[in-house]
Amino acid sequence: MLSRARDWNASQKPAETKEFLTDCVRPYLGARATEGLVAAAAPDGHDLLSSVEPVLAIFLGKRAAGRLVTRVFDRTLVRR
């Protein structure tokens, strides 16, 4: 997992990754909220999930948000 994460980190395309994460989160938070969070994230998107998770946790609960974010992260790695 860690080696895949390192490989992913080296080969990632920020715009594409951001778009994928946005697609996963938008149905829950809504388009405007998701776009706002994406716009506020770092250009390479490395902090996107860590900024989205607390917001999801407020509305879905920490358990559901944690599971969702972990799954989204895993799927991001698998896509690579």
Partner: protein
């Protein structure tokens, strides 16, 4: 264990079917001139549906509260709304079942004085007590929106509606003073109902603006349904006042009777939407 798929849709379809039945009863009443059509509709299927929605709301709200950890804003919100739902369901049973002579009432043999007591207790539970708890729940939800950074702002149209409702409150007080000379304690205990409804209306508008600020999503559906429930309740309250003081003549006053069913459906579908959003998140993760 998750809420069944289509639970929210089921609530909406069942409510719409009951509403259509009520509309059919109105048509039958208008054509035949026999008011028993509409009376029997509200005494049996209408009352039964309201009780079912009330019970479902208690169950779904409690279930939604359990999805959040202690200390989370939405847990507090759903817990308060669960207690509000218990008051609402108890009020529905007292007012629409036990205070009415119908086949649904197991205490139909009691004297009319007992019915009046049931009705007064039901209005107290379903009025100020329920609204105070609901206002606490909505405050917790709005605090969640604030923490997330998506708390909306009231627009001038919202402020205009609130100003109109404030004017209604003043007019209501004047009508009350003019119509009554003595005030029994149960009547006085119900006085906070309308001021609490004013607070709920402001909260509902703020919630709606917050949802708009986030955009349409599964989370937003839940709070949109709740705010719509609050608006319909406020509209029903104003309609009931207009009917009681002769501002809304018969048969137009019949419209008011039909506000409570969609309002109850909105309050019931809101926790179902919350649970569905959590279910989708968990299924995506599975």
């Amino acid at each position: 264990m998750f809420v069944p798929v289509g639970c929210a849709s089921g609530i909406l379809v069942a409510s719409a079917a009951c509403f259509a039945g009520g509309a059919a009863a109105v048509i039958a009443w208008r054509y035949s001139g026999n008011a028993a059509w509409i009376e029997q509709f509200f005494r049996i299927p209408g009352a039964f549906m309201m009780v079912c929605l009330g019970v479902a709301r208690v169950w779904l709200s409690a279930w939604a509260a359990r999805q959040f950890a202690p200390g989370e804003d939405m847990r507090r919100a759903w817990m308060l709304m669960t207690v509000a739902s218990v008051c609402s369901a108890a009020s529905t049973v007292l007012v629409q079942v036990l205070a009415v002579r119908s086949i649904l009432n197991p205490l139909a043999h009691l004297p009319a004085a007992a019915f009046a007591q049931f009705q007064a207790a039901g209005h107290l539970l379903g009025g100020p007590i329920r609204f105070a708890l609901l206002a606490g729940g909505l405050y917790a939800a709005l605090r969640g929106y604030g923490r997330a950074g998506f708390l909306g702002r009231l627009r001038w149209t919202d402020l205009a509606v609130l100003a109109l409702f404030a004017a209604y409150l003043v007019r209501n007080v004047l009508d009350l003073l003019a119509a009554h000379r003595t005030f029994p304690w149960l009547e006085v205990a119900r006085w906070p109902t309308d001021p609490l409804l004013f607070i709920l209306l402001a909260q509902g508008m703020l919630l709606r603006r917050s949802v708009q600020r986030m955009g349409r999503g599964w989370i937003g559906r839940c709070w949109t349904a709740l705010s719509l429930g609050v608006f319909l309740t406020a509209a029903g309250d104003v309609g009931s006042w207009a009917e009681a003081y002769g501002y809304l003549p018969y048969p137009w006053s019949a419209v008011v009777w039909f506000v409570w069913l969609p309002a109850a459906a909105c309050f019931t579908v809101a926790p179902a939407y919350q649970l569905e959003a959590i279910r989708f998140a968990a299924e995506e993760a599975a």
